[in-house]
Every structure is written in C-alpha cells, then in structure tokens.
Symmetry: D2
Subunit: 134 residues, 4 copies
C-alpha cells in the first residue's frame, strides 16, 4: 500500500516532474486503511460530515483568542500540528468524495469558475462583501 | 490561468495517464483568483479557519434529520450540490496550506501512517472506539 | 458572588416556587468570573462565537459514530459529561448576549413565534422539511 | 401555551421583580411547539447536536472577515439578527437538556465552580492560556 512514484510530463516546458503522491493515491490508501479495519459500516454521510466539521473545528481551535501578532508567531512554531489537522480535514473530504462517487477536483475546478462569475474582479476587488450584496 | 494538461507515467504498468488538473494547479488557480481580487488582506488564519468550519457545516447540513434510507436516495439526487460544498471545504484547505507553507499531501501521508499506528487492525477491526480507549 | 434564592409566585396556581438560580444570576456570575480574570480584552464577538461553535462541537462529538441503540445507552451513562458540554454552550450564549446587550430570552420568545408562523401545524406535522420547501 | 407572568421576590433587597418569561417556561413552549408538529421522532441526540452546531455557525458567520472596527459597528446595527441566531442556539440547548433530562442551569452553576478551580485568578489574570498550560 505505497503511494506510486509519478513522473509528470509538463507540456508547457517539456520537462518531467517527479511527484511522490497525489490525490488518487491518497484516496486509495485512505480507503484501504478503512476497509482493513472494517469501518465502512460506520461511514454513513451524516457521521462522515460530522467528523469533517469536528476536524475543521480542530484547525480553528489553533487560532482561538490569538491576535494577528500572536498568530504570525504561532503558525511558524506549530506548522506540523496545524498541518496534521488540515490533513484530517482533507482525509474526510477524500473519503466522502470517494464514497459518494464525487470527483472533488473537478468539482473544485467548476466551483472556481462559478466564483469567478459571482465575484467579478471589478466589483469584488478589495472587498469582503458576499456576492449577494455586491 | 488554466489548469495544465498532464500525462502521468505510472511505472507499475508502463502507461501514461491523462489528467486534467491536480492539487498544485488548483492551488495556483485559487491563489490567482484571490490575488486578482486583492483578498489576501482578509485571509488571516482565524478567518480562513472560520470559513473552513462554515463550509464543512454546509456539507453536514445536507444530512440533517435524514435517516439512512433518506440519505441513500438524497446523495444520488444531490451529488452536484454536495460536490460543490466539498469543493468549498477543499478550497480553504488548499488556500490555508498555501498561505502557511504546508504541504498538505505530505501531511496526509504522514497522518495515515500515524493512524496506522494508533489503530492497529487487530485491535480496531469493526469498532468505532477512539484510539485512546482501544 | 452567589446565586440568589428566589421565590417565584405563579399566578396560575397561587403558589410560590423556590428557585436556586436563574439566567440573570448565572449571567452575573459569568461576567464576574470573566472580569476577575481581566479576560474582557479577549472577548471580541468573533472569538466568542468561535468558542461557541467549538463547544457545540464538543456536544456533538459525544454522538459521533453511534447508532440509536448506542446513543440511548450512552446518554444515560454520560449525562453529567453531556450536561457539562451543554453548560459550556450556554456559557457563551449568555456571555455574548450580555456583551452585545441582547435579551436572549426575549429573542427566543420572539423566535418561537416566528417559527410558529414558518411551520404551521397543518403543513409541518410529521415532516422535517425546511420551511422554504414546505 | 403562554409564558407565565412571574413576580420574583429578591430576599437581598426585599423587592418583587416582574419577569415575563423564564427558562422553564421557554422549555415548555419549545417542547409544546415540537410535539404539536410530531417532530420528536426526528430529535435523536445526534441530529439535535448537529443542529446546535449549525446554529452556532450562523452566529459565527456574522463576524466572518470583519475586523474590530467593523464588528463594533456591525453588532449595533444587527442586534436583532444576531439575537435571533443566539436564540436558535439556546433553543437547541434547552430542547436537548429537556430530552436528556439534564438541568442545564445546575450544570452551568457547577461548571463555573469547576472553571474557578481550573483558572485561579492569580494564575489566569490577563492571559488566554488554556488551563492545561497555565
């Protein structure tokens, strides 16, 4: 159950790029990890989504009560710990996408296009206003 | 700002695989989308994590009050909508990972190894017990 | 800083009722607890709301992965622990209401009336449909 | 199903205080509202906790992306809307406490005492450090 080694050919510069791991491999490993433990029985969408929310909460907890200066210092000193929490969120995103047969990379690509329509540069520049109020 | 076209060479079967998009490209597009709108100024870790939690909540909301049968039907009929919410979660995972200089794929790979240690198959099989209580 | 002892006169039955504590007293104690520690400086609405979400998550975590039968057993055996988490949520509701000068009991009374309008018995009975789709 | 009118006798100053509504009455109204719609069947602890988290998220969403100055202005102009979201959180706290037979006011009183022990004034004053690291 190892991640394959990839050589990615980038047509824009004619080079090959070595990659250690990618989303599809990670998804396969997550599912193999799960199935080896016979946990599919617990992974209904409600409990998986609940786990996703709790892990997102653990990312957020790192920043509770901290002001900008404290956060700037904190993120440097706690990069590994924050990375682990972000990995936990990604874990559930990939597992749920797999189980519901959703291509989340495609979905994200589409979502970026949707957001480009919702937030045209000339209207949204420098504002944090929701698109419904732009 | 288009996603590159990839040809992935898989050494295990000697074949090339065409890929439309990958995590690095999506991250680049997200950051370009953000920077074109001059939104970096709002993207402190606290507000980004808060957004991550809210988007995870929107995934979860799809399953509120539904029992297993209702969910099974629902996920088929609402695959696109659920995919959009998962994409929103992934969006913030990638943006935060970028901003904090975290390689989230590496972090996930390490996390899977950690979890393999925390949840040995012989102890964890068929149980949803937390590792601290196994 | 003790909760006062109340005698509540209920006009409907002409009786007095002894109460140990109420919302106003609890709010006063929470604020006194906070101010004795000089924590007002940290209690901006964003961080208080973030804490509210995290504590609500801790309530939810109790039920992760459990089916109905497991939950029924669990809530009896873990009443004190669940009560503590609900108390933590109430803590932040009362603190935020105090700081923003909101009468949350009045707000709840109004909200119940609003919901009575959104969910008329004849339409909503036995259904978990959101009012926008009734 | 109206909230009773109370006269609270405060022994410390010998006065009676008129109160429109209290926690017990609000709980009764919430349960009557629920039972009239035959919604008890949906109110398992997991879905109720999930709703609690989502409503807490709606409180938090009000403060997304806003800095201190923007929040100060916002909370004054949006007091009613924020109050409604806090009321929604309180709604689920009271409903769950009722269903699990938890006296949440007692639980909060106990929790304040616990926190007084965890965060002694001389150690915690002016710091937002978690008690485990004090």
């Amino acid at each position: 159950m190892r991640a394959a080694v990839f050589f990615i050919f980038r047509p824009e510069n004619g080079r090959f790029l070595l990659m250690k791991s990618d989303i599809n491999d990670l998804t396969k490993r997550i599912i193999a990890f799960r199935d080896a433990r016979d946990w599919k029985q617990f992974h209904n969408p409600k409990d998986v989504a609940l786990s996703l929310v709790l892990e997102a909460g653990e990312v957020m907890e790192h920043f509770q009560w901290k002001n900008k200066e404290e956060m700037a210092k904190y993120v440097i000193e706690n990069k590994v710990a924050i990375g682990e929490e972000l990995a936990d969120v990604l874990y559930w995103v990939l597992l749920m996408s797999h189980d519901l047969n959703i291509n989340v990379l495609d979905a994200l690509e589409k979502k970026i296009k949707i957001n480009e329509g919702k937030y045209p540069v000339e209207k949204a520049k420098g504002k944090h206003t929701k698109y419904t109020k732009l």
